[in-house]
């Protein structure tokens, strides 16, 4: 998650209005679902890939690495669609292995279609998440008047996921330093203790956060200044050079 967050804050179209990026991703998804042809999905996938690398300046290798992880799950899911198990007919002599695996042209095409379509849709979402920080997405969610409570929850969850990760890392390191994962039995016990402590720590932090918010005149609503963004025309007015390095990659 931190990896994706780093890309989201350090790409060439970081300042572009998230509505434009979300709109592009949505259009790509609708095209893939609407046309339902493998070559359309493959073309969409290619377009997203080209824009991610040339326009946003995302490293191709990283983009493909993330996509490969997702593709691994997808492939496992489409294999049962491509492959059917058939029993031999009564006329045939009884074989040693009584079941046969069968791949028909239709089933293979169906699986390929599903795979390319899903990959293209996922890569459209990857494009959005790797070029748009969560703070911008939360800001975007506020525009169509999503209930305030939802926006506040999204803000807090995003903020405290990282705090929780840090806390978990510290607790795990503390347990490891005392040989807490030496055997399976101690590992189970340590994991249980960490989970219990993490729960208590979360509760303690939430109480402290409430106190600090109240000290800043909080009355139940999180009020923050909305973000400002570059309009879509900034893409051609200040077209970034292909060779321009992505700024501040190491700042996060």
């Amino acid at each position: 998650m931190r990896w994706i967050d780093r890309f989201a804050y350090n790409n060439r179209i970081r300042r572009l209005d998230p509505a434009v990026k979300a709109g592009f991703s949505l259009i790509m998804i609708l095209v893939c679902l609407g046309f339902d042809r493998p070559y359309v999905s493959a073309a969409a996938l290619l377009l997203i890939l080209i824009l991610s690398v040339s326009l946003a300046g995302l490293p191709l290798r990283s983009f493909l690495k993330i996509l490969a992880g997702e593709a691994a799950f997808l492939i496992l899911s489409v294999v049962p669609i491509a492959v059917s198990i058939v029993r031999p007919s009564a006329a045939e002599p009884v074989p040693v292995f009584p079941l046969k695996l069968l791949i028909t042209r239709d089933s293979a095409l169906n699986a390929l279609n599903l795979l390319t379509r899903t990959l293209a849709c996922i890569s459209a979402m990857n494009f959005l998440s790797m070029t748009t920080p969560v703070v911008d997405l939360i800001d975007l969610a506020g525009r169509p008047r999503v209930p305030e409570i939802m926006i506040d929850l999204m803000t807090l969850i995003y903020r405290f996921i990282f705090t929780l990760f840090d806390c978990l890392e510290r607790m795990t390191a503390a347990k490891e330093s005392r040989l807490g994962f030496r055997s399976l039995r101690t590992a189970f016990r340590s994991a249980g203790e960490i989970a219990a402590n993490l729960f208590l720590e979360t509760y303690r932090r939430s109480r402290k956060l409430q106190v600090s918010l109240e000290s800043r005149c909080w009355d139940g609503a999180f009020r923050v200044i909305p973000q400002t963004y570059d309009p879509i025309r900034s893409l051609w007015e200040r077209a970034p050079s292909r060779n321009q390095p992505v700024q501040n990659r190491e700042t996060l």
Partner: protein, 241 residues
């Protein structure tokens, strides 16, 4: 003259026998740098929570400019507009996804317009050396940056009384100097800064006045040279208060 007066304050935490504040009376005038010192459990943090209206005393009165604090919603907001608190752990204070939005929260809670809030955010960001970090997600800040961001979030509300609860703990010497410079610049504008600390050297060198709390009461109060006549080595002073 602006004054915050803790008048015979008593407060006991639920489930605890000994009071955290036990008949404490303290006047805090404007434009001073005050160091709060004392052992753990001496009542420093509780005093700060009382000052901000987070804790309502069991007995005694908190007065601001002579008038008792009204603990109804509007009265509490009025108190918090004037008394700001920076807590020990900045991690517990930064709730927004990025620094800019987090600092803007306080001014917007005060009812300022977005334009006015922007001005305040930019002003305190410059004061706290955060201008280049405004776009940074709060979870990606270093410890020192988080402390400065938390401080900026309170300064943006322009409190007349700023209470800082052990904010210099766990900071490297350079960041600590930065934080103290921010507190000094705020005090120089005729605001009062109350810094709670365990660092006696810091208290002696930084503060105009030191308030030493023990067992929920003022043990000693005065100028640094009056509090530490023989230097700041703890061995020179009674441990039991």
């Amino acid at each position: 003259m602006t004054e915050l007066f803790f008048d015979d304050i008593v407060y006991t935490y639920p489930g605890v026998n000994a009071p955290a504040l036990n008949g404490l009376s303290l006047r805090i005038g404007s434009g001073k740098r005050i160091a709060l010192i004392g052992r753990n459990g001496g009542g420093k943090s509780t005093l700060i929570l009382v000052a901000n209206g987070i804790i309502r005393p069991d007995r005694g009165t908190l007065r601001i400019d002579g008038a008792p604090v009204d603990y109804k919603k509007k009265g509490i907001y009025r108190l918090r507009e004037r008394v700001g608190v920076v807590f020990q752990n900045p991690e517990d204070q930064l709730f927004s996804a990025n620094v800019y939005q987090d600092i803007s929260s306080g001014p917007l809670n005060l009812g300022l317009s977005i334009g006015e809030a922007r001005e305040r955010v930019e002003e305190v960001a410059e004061r706290c050396g955060l201008t280049a970090l405004l776009d940074r997600p709060t979870h990606a800040l270093s410890g020192g940056e988080k402390t400065r961001a938390a401080l900026a979030g309170i300064l943006a509300m322009r409190p007349e009384f700023l209470f800082a609860d052990e904010v210099t703990n766990a900071l490297d010497p350079w960041i600590r100097i930065q934080v103290l410079n921010i507190l000094d610049s705020w005090a120089a504008e005729n605001h009062t800064v109350v810094l709670s600390t365990h660092d006696w050297d810091l208290a002696a060198n930084w503060a105009d006045e030191i308030v030493w709390l023990e067992k929920g009461k003022i043990y000693r109060q005065g100028k640094p040279e009056e509090i530490f006549p023989g230097g700041t080595q703890p061995e020179r002073y009674r441990r039991d208060g």
